[in-house]
């Protein structure tokens, strides 16, 4: 057991190291000096003012140091949870900006991932071997999972928000509100949350439903199912087993999907200008704020790694075979 997790942990650490280094390279390897871009955006100012600004920002971002030093500083400050300053935010700490955005993204991602996984699998299991469902409902699943996130998002926002005014068009909460602990704010928050959530949920849902449907059909054909049938066990029991066993690959799938969902949330947040991390990424790309990008990606890397690790643990818990294998020492 310890050996297994020890190994995993090591892999994760090395992965993190490599990923983080790649991440650090981003702003350094970008052509064009970010300060120049920042200054060139505040137009109408005199060359002298520009000069002053350039000096100011260069010092601010610590770009005046040699690369190796910058690299060491990067790790050092990373350990202290400092991701540097944002160009797009004119020197606001990147961590602050991310932290302000994270709640939205998590509020979007966690329910979208878990619910779609749960609902999709349940539905897929139902559809499996029920011809009418299989032929009626599943096609919908295929369409959904083949739909680009942003396209669905745009259609939803146009129809439900723009045309029928059922939901707000954009933003994280009403522009007429301030964050307070009141039902008003809370409900408004949810209202703004629904559409982005839905566009993430639906696409995912389709994928899981189909995946589960296929998996469970395999399980229903497996030897243990046939044996149970031969012994007259009711369908209930057989399905229960099949579902349970089909679930396992779906859990692995969950880990593999994370990256996809993150990118999905990115485009979705853009469509609804939902003030989450994805939206921040877009803003950063648009304004060439590589420090911000670097910070966000660092954040995503950690997030995905963490999630993967959790999935690993969960898997061990739910799949006896891995447990047994580990007791045998061979993971």
């Amino acid at each position: 057991m310890r050996r297994y997790f020890g190994r995993k942990l090591l892999t994760y650490l090395m992965t993190f190291f490599v990923a983080a280094t790649i991440d650090w390279l981003i702003p350094r390897f970008m052509p064009g000096d970010p300060v120049a871009q920042l200054v060139s955006r505040s137009n109408g100012i005199s060359p002298e003012q520009a000069k002053a600004l350039v000096d100011y920002y260069t010092r601010l971002f610590g770009l005046d140091k040699p690369l190796p030093v910058q690299y060491l500083n990067f790790w050092n400050s990373l350990i202290h949870g400092d991701l540097g300053l944002s160009v797009y935010g004119h020197g606001t700490p990147v961590t602050d900006m991310i932290m302000a955005a994270v709640p939205y993204t998590l509020a979007l991602l966690i329910p979208a991932i878990l619910l779609s996984w749960w609902a999709g699998n349940t539905f897929g299991a139902m559809a499996a071997r029920r011809k009418w469902l299989d032929n009626t409902a599943l096609p919908v699943g295929y369409v959904l999972t083949a739909t680009p996130y942003m396209w669905l998002a745009l259609v939803l926002s146009f129809v439900l928000a723009f045309s029928f005014r059922l939901f707000p068009l954009s933003g994280g909460y009403g522009f007429n509100l301030e964050p307070t602990f009141t039902w008003l704010f809370f409900t408004d928050l949810v209202a703004h949350w629904v559409l982005p959530f839905l566009s993430l949920f639906l696409v995912q849902f389709g994928g899981w439903a189909i995946g589960m449907r296929n998996m469970i059909i395999y399980e229903l054909e497996s030897d243990y199912s046939r044996y149970l049938e031969a012994l007259g066990a009711p369908q209930g029991l057989i399905r229960k087993y099949a579902f349970r066993n089909a679930m396992l690959p779906q859990i692995t799938g969950l880990a593999l999907q994370l990256g996809v969902v993150v990118s999905g949330s990115l485009v979705t947040e853009i469509v609804f200008s939902y003030p989450g991390v994805g939206h921040l990424v877009f803003a950063a790309i648009q304004s060439n704020d590589y420090f911000l990008l670097q910070g966000i990606f660092m954040f995503i890397i950690i997030g995905v790694l963490l999630a993967n690790f959790i999935v690993d643990i969960v898997y061990v818990v739910v799949d006896p075979r891995t447990r047994v294998a580990m007791r045998g020492g061979t993971a």
Binding site: P31, V35, A36, Q37, V39, S40, R41, S42, N43, G44, S46, P47, E48, Q49, A50, K51, A52, L53, V54, Y56, S86, G89, H90, G91, T92, M97, M99, A100, V102, P103, Y104, A107, P111, W118, L154, S157, L169, S170, G172, F175, N176, L177, E178, P179, T180, F181, T182, W183, L184, F185, F186, L189, V190, I270, V271, S273, P275, A283, Q286, N288
Partner: protein
């Protein structure tokens, strides 16, 4: 069961959002030299109501009293420092004010925080009469000392201002501030400064006036303006009316909206959606298809009811790299100017919401400085045939590929760069390239990443500018055409690098620069001299085409009349309709005093 889970999650999310909203703002306010108010109070409220959710003091801005704007803010509001070019929307104009307003349409200076200002007979000393009865938002009175301090602050090297290269001394004298100059005053620049310098309370800013003056975010600062800081978030900046605004008593002016919510720019379709849905009253972004929308009965209007719909805000120039062959040849640039049909861009790209630029490139508000006769005789106009002829005459022969070649026979392929993602300009460059190709000039439209464009255009500490052609519109409308000529002819060349934001084309013309300086030192009321100098400069510009004017980028402004009406327009109140930096003091502030709520709340 899963439903339960999702409620919990959403609740947690809500909690963390509230928390982070307070958290981040209080985090920044530690840097800010003022005491927290709104958002700070939210924290105890949150803490108190952590158990269950009783309706504690929620802040809801009534629709009828709130003005929703968008267009200035390209990112989350991050600094409220009036001396930082990137300060949040309205910091200068709504919160801090200037001594004068300048109205480009009427070309008139209106005393604002100054009750008046005048030159002495020799035009060597300028006296500012500081308006009495003006109070800071903390209640204390604004004094001549504050004004003197606010001007003197520009001696701070960190601000990199050129003001004190010609200003000598600024001293408070009773209720006046007396300004003396070094040699001939740069009248044009001084007048420009008068309506651009924010007046700040000396009490607050004296300690901040250090090398790190820009580091102070100055959230919830103290100004004289009609609005004060309410709150800010990643996607918005909110101002609340200052009940004790001096102008109400002094000038009988009141700003209509109690709240101004400025929404950080998002994608075109969101902005347009908000505008059409009435979620946005004033949008200062470039939006596609405005012509259709204005005529589409959505209740959306613009400054002009018909083309060009928008006031001209600045000129979009085609900037050639005059250090490179063949663009170093005036004849070639001239032919290029004739080869391009800006009208194509105006119609096909912008759908007539912009106007073709005058051959001089001067904005319509500067028409009186244009030597029409001279333009008629020298001005380059679109004419493919003529362009071809001129090229041939100048000795550029056609290559096998049908494009003109350098005189040494080498092929000519000019890269025209606009930043990737700048959709309207990307469309424009394609049209321009097509026109040029028709005249035998091989232009290759490219849209590299913004950083690359800036590098190629400005050069770096190590590399000279390597661009062939770029489109640029850096310099905005102002009180004097001098800003444009300074932009075109600036000498000496500024060292390559980030700070290089004048004379991108690297055009060397000492005589022109002498004229520009002469213009700068001409009093703003000496119209005759200004005209003659401008005419000479125009001659140089028209014959050498160091930069080629294309079209007048609009002062993008589209308004929804469902909640607020009586917006600026050529028929009604003729004031600037923009929330951008510098426009409030060019009269946009009157927009707020003019608009009327459709139905009183």
């Amino acid at each position: 069961m899963h439903l339960g889970r999702y409620r919990v999650l959403a609740l947690l999310a809500a909690a963390s959002i509230v928390a982070s909203a307070c958290g981040s703002s209080s985090a920044t306010s530690t840097v800010a030299p003022s005491t927290g108010t709104t958002t700070a109070t939210a924290t105890p409220a949150a803490a108190a109501s952590a158990t269950g959710l009783p309706a504690t003091d929620t802040t809801v801005y009534p629709r009828a009293e709130t003005l929703y704007t968008s267009g200035k803010q390209w990112g989350a509001p991050s600094t409220w420092n009036p001396f930082d070019g990137n300060s949040a929307m309205g910091v200068v104009g709504l919160q801090y004010e200037t001594l004068f307003l300048y109205d480009p349409i009427k070309d008139a200076y209106t005393p604002w925080l100054a009750s008046g200002g005048s030159w002495d007979s020799g035009k060597t000393t300028y006296t500012i009469n500081v308006r009495q009865g003006v109070t800071w938002s903390d209640g204390s009175a604004m004094t001549a000392a504050d004004v003197a301090f606010s001007i003197n602050i520009y001696q701070n090297a960190a601000l990199g201002s050129t003001l004190f290269t010609f200003v000598d001394k600024v001293v408070a004298n009773g209720n006046d501030v007396v300004v003396t100059f070094k040699g001939t005053p740069a009248y044009q620049e001084w007048m420009q400064a008068l309506y651009n310098m924010p007046i700040v309370p000396a009490a607050v800013w004296t300690p901040l006036n250090t090398a790190d003056i820009l580091k102070s975010l100055n959230m919830k600062g103290i100004g004289t303006g009609p609005y004060t800081y309410k709150t800010a978030a990643q996607d918005r900046m909110v101002w609340v009316k200052n009940p004790t605004w001096w102008a109400t008593k002094a000038l009988g002016l009141t700003v209509a909206p109690t709240y101004i919510v400025d929404i950080v720019n998002s994608s075109n379709n969101v902005a347009l959606g908000q505008l059409l849905a009435g979620g946005l009253d004033l949008d200062n972004n470039y939006l596609p298809g405005i012509a259709q929308i204005v005529n589409g009965g959505y209740g959306v209007t613009t400054y002009f009811a018909a083309a060009p719909y928008m006031l001209g805000g600045n000129t979009a120039w085609l900037i050639p790299n005059t250090q490179k062959k063949p663009l170093d040849d005036a004849a070639f640039r001239r032919a290029l100017a004739e080869a391009i049909d800006p009208n194509n861009v105006v119609v096909k790209d912008y759908g007539n919401i912009v106007a073709v630029a005058d051959p001089t490139g001067l904005l319509p508000v500067w028409t009186k400085y244009i030597d029409a006769a001279q333009v008629k005789s020298l001005g380059a106009t679109f004419n493919t045939a003529k362009a071809k002829a001129d090229l041939a005459a100048a000795g550029y022969k056609l290559g096998s590929d049908g494009f003109v070649t350098n005189k040494d026979g080498s092929a000519i392929k000019l890269n025209l760069e606009v930043p990737d993602g700048w959709s309207d300009w990307m469309a424009a460059e394609t049209l321009i390239a097509t026109d040029a190709k028709a005249a035998g000039i091989n232009i290759n439209p490219t849209h590299p990443d913004y950083g690359t464009v800036v590098n190629d255009r400005n050069g770096t500490s190590t590399a000279a500018p390597i661009f062939d052609l770029v489109i640029n519109n850096d310099v905005q409308i102002g009180n004097t055409p001098w800003v444009y000529y300074d932009y075109i002819f600036r000498q000496p060349q500024i060292a390559a690098g980030a700070a290089r934001n004048r004379n991108y084309e690297q055009y060397d013309n000492k005589d022109a620069w002498a004229l520009v300086q002469k213009l700068d030192q001409t009093p703003v009321d000496d119209l005759a001299t200004m005209k003659s100098i401008c005419s000479q400069l125009q001659k140089i510009q028209l014959t050498n085409e160091p930069v080629i004017p294309l079209w007048y980028n609009g002062e993008w402004s589209q308004v929804n009349n469902s909640v607020w009406t009586n917006w600026p327009s050529d028929k009604g109140a003729q004031v600037q309709p923009a929330t951008w930096n510098g426009y409030w003091q060019m009269g946009a502030i009157y927009m707020l005093t003019n608009i009327k709520p459709v139905k009183a709340s």
